[in-house]
Symmetry: C2
Subunit: 212 residues, 2 copies
DNA sequence: CGACGGATGTATCGGTCTGATACATCGCAC
DNA sequence: GTGCGATGTATCAGACCGATACATCCGTCG
């Protein structure tokens, strides 16, 4: 997972470890806490040994900006093999792709996938969340007696979060299917009317209508 | 974390590993995926070696229910030291107590803490989520240009989730402060009117009014 | 009847990630 | 000029995951 994230970030710009972590934290802050240096630096070393990234000996026109002497920062750049590797990792969707952390990383680089791949991942994620949701519903209906008030409240909050995410995913999937770029300002569940030919049959209003 | 969760579950009933994992998944399904056997069984061994749990040689009145022969299930029970250990772990709130997984486990056993401890943990969690929320807000206002539409959507969804959780925590905190048990049926953000003396000043309607 | 799959049950292993820690430099404020 | 926070690289012990192995029990289907 970290590997994919690092390659993805270096795809945009060359960076050193410290900055990588900051960008990582910012980019994935929504879905996972943050990757720590304890995994970042070993990963960088591994990627370098594999030839996916290489030390970037600094642009001559930017002579080591603030840092000057000694063992300063180490800037990494993506190699051609690295780009290939990134594309492979991003496209091949293993089961962990739909887990919280994995999904966040994939989603962050969605613009590098085509529509079909995006749809596949979104639907896989939705399936995963729906399973979690069903589990919670079952717990809430079947074992109300066996759990104390706090546990129940926890289940309820989890269920609510699942339902929200499924709705979010449904909007994204509808967006993709209508060929439209991701939400312009879908803050309150409001989708702005876009000027577009009514191509297919539009899954209507029901946010839960899709198989099952 | 797993240690605390296992001790907490065995506090209620003696169980074997397989069932422990099922209960674990159910109880914490809302906040974390699940603990795997790869960490559960080593933890059980460690807890047993430490004397916090012990093999329960089966009730004589229930002579190994379905399983009969060979090396069947191993039922564990909590020892006196285990109960102490559980109380310690549950009460001492380290920084990881406010992380997703840690908070879920603590919350699940809230009924074994007193009101003051519950409030401390809820407020700590709220602080953590507020920090995450502020980070997301900053990203969304400051670096809109630098991120593509999908990354922005990810941030927005994360921000929404944070805001919801803060609101949830505020309700729980208000509940605790008014000495009332956790929500009876607070499904849609609706708090049923409860027959109770208007003890303190009731923080009114604003879900975000609390310091800051 | 036997064969097969799925739930139950215990257990280990390699690998990933975390949290703590160490250490060194830079720039700034007091 | 001295401390202090941000920048920067790096390692280590330990927690946890995913896969795998293996064995039993039970129901179903040919």
């Amino acid at each position: 997972m970290l590997e994919l994230a690092v390659l993805g970030l270096l795809h945009e710009t060359s960076m050193h470890g410290y900055e990588l972590r900051k960008r990582l934290t910012q980019l994935l802050g929504a879905f996972r806490a943050a990757f720590s240096y304890g995994s970042l630096y070993p990963t960088l070393k591994r990627l370098k040994d594999s030839g996916y990234i290489a030390e970037d000996a600094g642009d001559p026109n930017e002579p080591v900006p603030p840092l000057t002497g000694k063992r300063g920062r180490i800037v990494y750049k993506l190699t051609a093999e690295g780009k290939e590797r990134f594309a492979d990792l991003l496209a091949q969707a293993g089961p962990e792709t739909y887990e919280d952390s994995g999904f966040g990383v994939h989603f962050a680089f969605f613009s590098r996938l085509d529509q079909a791949q995006r749809l596949r991942i979104l639907e896989g994620r939705r399936r995963r969340i729906e399973e979690r949701r069903e589990g919670l519903r079952e717990t809430l209906t079947r074992s109300v007696e066996r759990l104390d008030a706090y546990s129940l409240e926890l289940q309820r909050h989890g269920l609510d979060a699942c339902e929200r995410e499924v709705r979010w995913l449904n909007e994204l999937i509808a967006s993709e299917q209508s060929g439209r770029p991701p939400s312009v300002t879908t803050v309150g569940g409001f989708v702005p009317p876009e000027p577009q030919a009514p191509s297919v049959h539009e899954p209507s209003e029901d946010p839960d209508a899709h198989r099952e």
